[in-house]
């Protein structure tokens, strides 16, 4: 086996032709899935904490169900099933966006559930005593505090999510990993391409983790 790597083929042309397009999609998918996941995750968390059976049961089944299936299978099934349900094909990218929102919502819902529970009950009572409705209390009093308390955990989940976006590989969506793969193929250097991909994922995630840690410390000081 010849282990002498040659990275000389990495130049700006290659990066802009193959990698940036993929990086753009990976970042876009991460951002959209985070925002959508937090939105629907918060709804799921509120359903589970509502104490009303007709809300608790479906939300619990959904969350526990999704979390018991490997993400890559969910991605594949969505890609195969959704066109059958809506009667027309959707692109791999669109399918990935929908899947990630639906899947990540379950993880964000667990985080937001813990966040809501971290806000003392008295806060809700105080809001109620001032005449605010349940909705106003949630929106203006409880969720902002839950969100603030959970910010480091939410960001950590986003980093994991960024890594997981590479799984869209399974349905052929063009993400950053795919970009490296295509570049590697074109230049006949597949191993170097995957090594470079690993380095880029590592640098991005390590830097973000480090930033989250510092944020965590700052929040701890403010409290």
């Amino acid at each position: 086996m010849n282990l002498s790597f040659d990275f000389s083929f990495y130049n700006w042309d290659l990066i802009s032709n193959f990698i940036l397009k993929g990086l753009y999609f990976s970042v876009m998918l991460t951002v959209v899935a985070t925002l959508g996941g937090i939105f629907f995750g918060t709804l799921l968390a509120m359903m589970r904490l509502s104490g009303r059976k007709w809300l608790v049961v479906p939300a619990t089944i959904y969350v526990d169900g999704m979390r018991s299936i490997p993400l890559v299978m969910v991605i594949l099934w969505f890609f195969l099933l959704v066109p059958m349900i809506i009667g027309q094909p959707i692109g791999a990218e669109m399918s990935a966006v929908i899947t990630f929102i639906a899947f990540e919502a379950t993880y964000f819902s667990e985080i937001m559930r813990a966040g809501i529970q971290s806000v003392p009950r008295g806060q809700m009572s105080a809001g109620q005593a001032l005449g605010m409705t349940y909705g106003q209390n949630m929106r203006l009093i409880v969720l902002p505090q839950a969100f603030r308390n959970m910010l480091p955990v939410l960001l950590t989940q986003t980093i994991i999510l960024f890594q997981d976006t590479s799984l869209v590989y399974a349905i052929g969506a063009y993400d950053m990993l795919k970009g490296f793969e295509v570049a590697g193929k074109n230049y006949g250097r597949p191993i170097e391409a995957f090594v470079a991909a690993a380095v880029v994922y590592f640098v991005i995630c390590y830097t973000l983790s480090h930033l989250v840690k510092r944020l965590h410390k700052r929040i701890a000081i403010i409290h």
């Binding site: 806060q123 105080a126 005593a129 005449g131 605010m132 203006l140 409290h223």
Partner: protein, 245 residues
């Protein structure tokens, strides 16, 4: 103005309020005392329906609180409440704490709410702290802001649930001073407190609750403190214990 008729409440099979009846007239200051776990907090929270009841009737200014059809947010906006642990909103500034419910519940404009809120803040002597966050204030200051927040809503009655019991001793006075001045201005008040000095100074009536959620005494202040022979033995025991301190 407030009337409780034969109010009972259970947590599961455990009874916390047992056939409680009393009333508060406009301008009265009623002090509620009694041992821990006797249901004082529960009783006061039934008045703005933070605690639902299973039996009896509660009327506030002609509104039936016990009626499921009653618009509770509207009722609560007229009933001020001050909690043991202040419950200011930590993510909002003092000014935002004072204005949020005025804007969202009463529909006042930001300007109007701010004016009203700052006037109340001034009255509790904390104008200098209007832009701080609650976490930057001492306990006594936080409780005074909480009182100002309730007053900003122009309540018809103020409910206090042990407003000074979470405070360091040197901060109790500043909060009681605000409450005394409120009472002297004719605010209708119901206060759960063990500050008997406060009760002697401004209370119209004193209610004593005993374990099991029963109202054992409900009499005028002069009767309560001045006529010990007419008191139940449980009341005398309790007074003996807390007056020693």
């Amino acid at each position: 103005m407030i009337e409780l008729k034969n109010v009972s409440k259970w947590y599961g099979s455990f009874q916390v309020l047992d056939d409680c009846s009393t009333h508060i007239e406009k301008g009265e200051v009623v002090v509620v005392c009694g041992p821990s776990g006797s249901g004082k907090s529960t009783l006061i929270k039934t008045i703005n329906a933070l605690e639902p009841i299973q039996k009896g009737e509660i009327w506030v200014n002609g509104t039936p609180v016990h009626d499921p059809k009653t618009n509770l947010p509207k009722l609560r906006s007229k009933v001020g409440m001050v909690f043991q642990h202040f419950e200011l909103f930590p993510h909002l500034t003092v000014t935002q704490n004072l204005t949020i419910a005025q804007v969202k519940v009463l529909g006042r404009s930001q300007d109007e709410a701010r004016k009203r809120g700052l006037k109340m803040l001034d009255r509790v002597g904390l104008m200098a702290h209007k832009d701080k966050f609650p976490g930057q204030l001492s306990g006594g200051q936080q409780q005074r802001v909480a009182i100002a927040r309730a007053l900003s809503m122009d309540p018809i009655v103020m409910l206090f649930d042990e407003p000074t019991s979470a405070l360091d001793p040197e901060m109790v006075g500043e909060v009681l001073d605000v409450m005394v001045s409120l009472a002297n201005e004719g605010m209708t008040m119901m206060c759960v407190t063990h500050e008997m000095g406060f009760a002697r100074k401004v209370a119209s009536r004193v209610i004593f609750m005993d374990v099991g959620g029963k109202i054992l005494e409900d009499c005028t202040k002069d009767d309560f403190f001045g006529n010990p022979d007419a008191r139940q033995s449980r009341t005398k025991d309790f007074l003996g214990k807390i007056l020693q301190h």
